[in-house]
């Protein structure tokens, strides 16, 4: 009942944010110089052809009308056509899998690593292990991802020739091998962000009286870690992850550029350089929706996990 209510509230907010997203994306592309029709048809097209296409694209209508039409199109899953004359939805379809693989790879490395490091640092807090981890985290926080990628390529990929340095493989084996270095790079960037907050939230939990109580009752080992500590630290981790999804997407864009992976990120960079408005619109909208969904999912999970907000 209450869970329903939480969910409904979230959903409402989600709609609101998505509306804002479409508005931002729309404004974004309005600011862009150049005329979509002219860009599409090329320099040699006749003015008649251009104005014909302008009409077809609805560019001759008022801005609010255009916006409504745009939202309407998007709602019907129509993201328009790129300069190259491709359906934006098919570009997204082609490219999304690489991006998802990268996200998955990065998360699969970063989250466990962050848990282990944060746990170690929190458990041995203020001892040398903790200091080393914190210093390392501090340093890693400011490593430019693309630079780390280059170094990995130069120091690992080329000498060993184990890992492909571009594209994601198609067979499972190749895929995994080609994901190793990009994911590692992503994890090197993401992990420190997670560790920093995770450590302090773990310390909060470890220092809390209820952990002392559990230990005083002889609870220990994995029960203590999982049931008593992690359960309580999970909320902050999820919140943090959800909050960082936008940053994570940015990271994936960098990874794609660094390792020449043709996912959505590189498509976005290419398209915006080409002033390919519809493609930019489609991809940013997709990323934004992803972020908003992840946020909503994270927040909902957190509030569902916390009995204080849900239980009846």
């Amino acid at each position: 009942m209450v869970a329903m209510r939480v969910l409904l509230g979230r959903l409402l907010q989600l709609l609101l944010v998505l509306l804002a997203v479409t508005l931002v994306v729309f404004v974004l592309t309005q600011i862009a110089p150049g005329d979509a029709a002219r860009l599409r048809l090329g320099p040699r097209a006749s003015p008649e052809a251009v104005s014909e296409l302008r009409h077809q694209l609805g560019l001759d209508r008022s801005l609010p009308q255009q916006y409504l039409a745009y939202v309407n199109r998007v709602l019907h899953g129509d993201f328009g056509t790129s300069i190259d004359g491709q359906r934006v939805s098919s570009i997204i379809g082609q490219r999304i899998s690489d991006t998802l693989w990268l996200l998955l790879g990065t998360l699969m490395l970063a989250v466990p690593a962050a848990l282990v490091l944060a746990w170690t640092a929190a458990w041995f807090r203020d001892r040398s292990v903790d200091h080393v981890i914190r210093l390392g985290v501090l340093l890693a926080l400011f490593l430019p991802a693309f630079w780390v990628g280059f170094l990995l390529i130069r120091l690992v990929a080329i000498p060993t020739a184990w890992f492909p340095v571009a594209d994601l493989g198609s067979s499972p084996g190749d895929l995994i091998r080609s994901l190793v270095l990009p994911s590692l790079t992503g994890a090197i960037i993401l992990t420190p962000i997670l560790v920093r907050s995770l450590r302090s939230s773990l310390i909060d939990v470890l220092d809390s009286e209820y952990i002392a109580v559990a230990r005083s009752l002889g609870v220990g080992g994995s029960t203590l870690i999982v049931r008593h500590v992690l359960r309580n630290a999970l909320g902050p981790v999820l919140t943090l992850l959800a909050l960082n999804v936008g940053y994570l997407f940015f990271g994936v864009v960098i990874l794609e550029a660094t390792f020449n992976i043709s996912g959505l990120g590189s498509a976005l960079v290419e398209a915006s350089a080409k002033r390919d408005v519809y493609t930019v619109q489609g991809i940013t909208l997709l990323f934004a929706t992803g972020v908003v969904l992840a946020n909503t999912l994270g927040e909902t999970a957190v509030s569902l996990l916390d009995p204080r907000t849900v239980s009846a």
Partner: protein, 296 residues
């Protein structure tokens, strides 16, 4: 002997001050200050510690290895890498600083307004910031700057710098606003603030002397980290070809252009990256140290 010991003991609290003065986090702040200080000094006295101008080319002496004349060798156009590395501090730090300070000030003002203002203002600001944080702003940023191009310089800013600063402002005011709002709300209900109000102090004085000074601690801490992150972001964006023009000495662009010679002249990539990480860490150490200090 015993007498002096006794006196010492009685005066203990004030006399042993030095002990308490060296607070937690001082070591970190010191190390951070040294690192950042060195960078700042290098930027200020760049002409003294480098030879020539960062744009000076020596096309006949391309990709020279490190030597006495060229501490880090030369790049593809025969420009002295060390000189570019040092002059890049000016660009990167200037943009990062402005790109963090402006949102910090703006966001803080908004945060204070939200924390102190009426509840509908607070609601309005917080709802807006809710929406803003749930947007992939960096993605928008790439799209926007990519679509708009770098533009020309503005006042003392070089080409491409103003869009970056504006972009950072749009992205990070939210963090500051939220941070300060919650701090202001916390401090606002502290008894000493209520006491100040009861004492009849004017509203602005309560805000300026009691609420704000006690609220901005975390903001300052975050500001240091944020400047470091901004340096990383600037270089990342120019790596993606968004932002600062290529001929400007800028760490990200230097790494990007060193990419073709990664095999032979790896230091052209290694040095700027190390500079980014180092100054970031210096800034973060100061921030962390201040944080320790605030928390202890």
């Amino acid at each position: 002997m015993t007498d002096t010991a006794k006196i010492a003991a009685e005066e203990a609290p004030p006399a042993r001050k030095p002990r308490s003065r060296r607070r937690r986090g001082d070591g970190k702040v010191a190390v951070g200050m040294v690192i950042v200080g060195l960078f700042v000094l290098a930027a200020v006295f760049a002409p003294l510690i480098t030879s020539g101008h960062p744009a000076d080319q020596d096309l006949l002496n391309r990709l020279a290895p490190p030597s006495h004349a060229h501490l880090l060798g030369t790049d593809q156009l025969g420009r002295d890498e060390w000189t570019r590395l040092v002059y890049a501090i000016r660009v990167d730090l200037r943009v990062a600083l402005l790109g963090s300070l402006i949102p910090a000030i703006l966001g803080s003002l908004i945060g204070i307004a939200a924390g102190l203002g009426s509840s509908w203002l607070d609601t309005a600001i917080m709802r807006t910031s809710d929406i803003v944080v749930s947007l992939p702003l960096f993605i928008f940023f790439i799209a926007l700057v990519g679509l708009l191009g770098p533009g020309t310089g503005f006042l003392f800013l070089g080409p491409g710098e103003l869009p970056l600063i504006i972009g950072f402002t749009v992205i990070s005011w939210v963090v500051y606003a939220r941070l300060l709002r919650s701090e202001v709300r916390r401090v606002r209900s502290m008894d000493y603030v209520r006491a100040a109000r009861l004492g009849g102090l004017p509203r602005w004085r309560v805000i300026g002397w009691h609420i704000v000074p006690n609220s901005i601690g975390q903001t300052v801490v975050y500001l240091f980290v944020d400047v470091g992150l901004a340096v990383v972001a600037i270089s990342t964006l120019s790596f993606l070809g968004v932002g600062i023009p290529i001929e400007t000495p800028e760490w990200g662009a230097m790494i990007q252009s060193g990419r073709t010679v990664i095999q032979t002249n790896w230091w052209l990539i290694a040095a700027p990256g190390a500079a980014i990480a180092l100054i970031g860490m210096g800034l973060a150490l100061i921030g962390d140290g201040l944080d320790d200090r605030i928390k202890s």
